[in-house]
Symmetry: C2
Subunit: 108 residues, 2 copies
Amino acid sequence: MNLLCDLPSAPAGEVVETLIAAGALRIERIVSRGEASPPGFWYDQDEAEFVAVLSGAARLRFADESGDREMRPGDWVAIPAHKRHRVEWTDPTQPTVWLAVFYRGENT
Amino acid sequence: MNLLCDLPSAPAGEVVETLIAAGALRIERIVSRGEASPPGFWYDQDEAEFVAVLSGAARLRFADESGDREMRPGDWVAIPAHKRHRVEWTDPTQPTVWLAVFYRGENT
């Protein structure tokens, strides 16, 4: 199985596939094609999230930061539970592949 | 922070960095430069593991399979706890970057 192959064909909207679900852990592949969070929308998740961009390009915004974070292939962030964030932009010219790991608990 | 940058310089041997540790979850970046498991060695882990190759090339072997699994960028496998496996080969000509997620519990 390959994270970068068999991408859903455009225009399918953002496509989320669960690769692993085990107890409180969930690993997802997310493929975006220009989607962004709706205006004014903020994720406010009960779970912590590790998320990396594997291909494509995106910009993440955190409510407590003044600017966007550019996300290029290999870039990752750890998002604590309830840290408000949104997807400001994904590249409309190519698929952006995210690998997201959702989990419970704080980093130690 | 980027998974594909700031790779440890050769020849450093296999380098493991823990990116996230939260309760039973551990996310590691592993960089191999031609390393393989010692002859006759098998991993027999208490934890389940999701592992993907992000760059480079490798071959994994599972004790209950007759051949190796080729691992190219984007390829991933889910390895249940105590499923015996070994790294048969990693490309000696370039760094191989693995992203590994170790966790407890069975896939649901």
